[in-house]
């Protein structure tokens, strides 16, 4: 009977695998203690009482889900801010390197570079606006009261982080185009090192952000089942 209960609790907590494993062990110990402390002689009845006293797995899972959304949201917010900061620093370092290494663009591509730079700039600041806006919204709205509220807050954060990631992707792609144009004109292979490294960092940041958004989406979808959505 206890193993059936543990199975259903683990299933209800499946939105967070590590939590599900941990709770299974914790609750197993709890229920065994409760059965051992039961004054009755009938073990089956003692197990039934221990399970009844513990509560409905769905209700317990819903309480954990709100906590899990909180943790996931914080992680997503931090990932977004870090990605934006890292891309910004990489861009600034690359621009500084071009100045130091005297990497100038040719007259023939100057207009294209100007257009791509404009797209880059607007896309980056749009990403900052969406990302910082999402984090600010997440931090200012307290959603501990109910799972439904925590869920709605998480969905809004995810939407804004997705917008930030999309804009950041446009910005990084523009950076890639600008870097490629400059590198075609580069005279020495050593001039490639900083631009290529900074581009790799930018691409890595966007990939990490997309990965976090995907994980948040998977968890939110699993938790939606608890809400009956």
């Amino acid at each position: 009977m206890i193993s059936d209960y543990l199975e259903s609790l683990a299933r209800a907590l499946d939105f967070d695998r590590s939590l599900s494993r941990r709770m299974r062990q914790e609750v197993e110990d709890h229920l065994c203690e409760a059965v051992a402390a039961d004054p009755g002689d009938d073990r089956i009845a003692a197990e039934r009482r221990a399970i009844a006293n513990f509560g409905d797995p769905g209700v317990i899972a819903a309480q954990f889900a709100a906590l899990s959304l909180e943790r996931q949201g914080r992680r997503l917010g931090i990932a977004t801010v870090l990605a934006l900061a890292a891309v910004f620093i990489a861009m600034k370092v690359r621009v500084a390197w071009y100045a130091v290494a005297h990497c100038a663009t040719g007259e023939d591509v100057r207009m294209v570079c100007g257009m791509v730079s404009t797209v880059d700039r607007y896309a980056f600041w749009l990403a900052v606006l969406a990302g910082v806006g999402g984090c600010a919204h997440f931090c200012t709205e307290h959603a501990r009261a109910s799972l439904a509220r925590a869920y709605r807050r998480q969905v809004r954060l995810r939407f804004l982080c997705m917008a930030a990631a999309a804009a950041l992707l446009v910005s990084v792609t523009s950076d890639g185009v600008l870097t490629a144009i400059r590198l075609f004109a580069a005279q020495f292979p050593a001039q490639f090192v900083v631009p290529v490294s900074s581009m790799a960092l930018e691409i890595g940041c966007v990939a990490a952000l997309v990965f976090q958004i995907r994980r948040a989406a998977q968890r939110t979808t699993s938790i939606a089942v608890l809400l009956g959505r």
Partner: protein, 110 residues
């Protein structure tokens, strides 16, 4: 009403020393004179929330029965939080006590 004070209750139950979930529930029952008979499962989200907030720390130990068990303990931050909440509660309790007894509460209302 109990739900609003669950964090304080759990912190107070752990003030005597580290304990696992079942022992926390038992301590709450015993120290409240059986007045607080919570659904046992509700203690775990509270323990995890307090741990996430840095007020508790936990680790696995092996019990005498051979089962693995998670033991929770107050952190320094948790001890400070408990002291603060205890002071707020005493002030509130004293004010309500005075009000119900028909006497003047110690502090002026805001």
């Amino acid at each position: 009403m109990l739900k609003g004070h669950l964090d304080l209750i759990v912190l107070a139950a752990l003030s005597a020393g580290p304990a696992h979930g079942y022992a926390v529930i038992e301590a709450i029952r015993r120290r409240s004179g059986q007045a607080f008979d919570l659904p046992e499962g509700t203690i775990y989200p509270a323990l995890h929330r307090l741990e996430q907030a840095g007020l508790l720390a936990s680790r696995w130990v092996t019990a005498e029965s051979g089962r693995r068990r998670r033991v929770y303990a107050l952190t320094r931050r948790g001890q400070r939080a408990l002291a603060e909440r205890r002071a707020v509660w005493r002030e509130f309790s004293s004010a309500i006590g005075g009000l119900l007894a028909g006497a003047q509460p110690r502090r002026k209302p805001a």
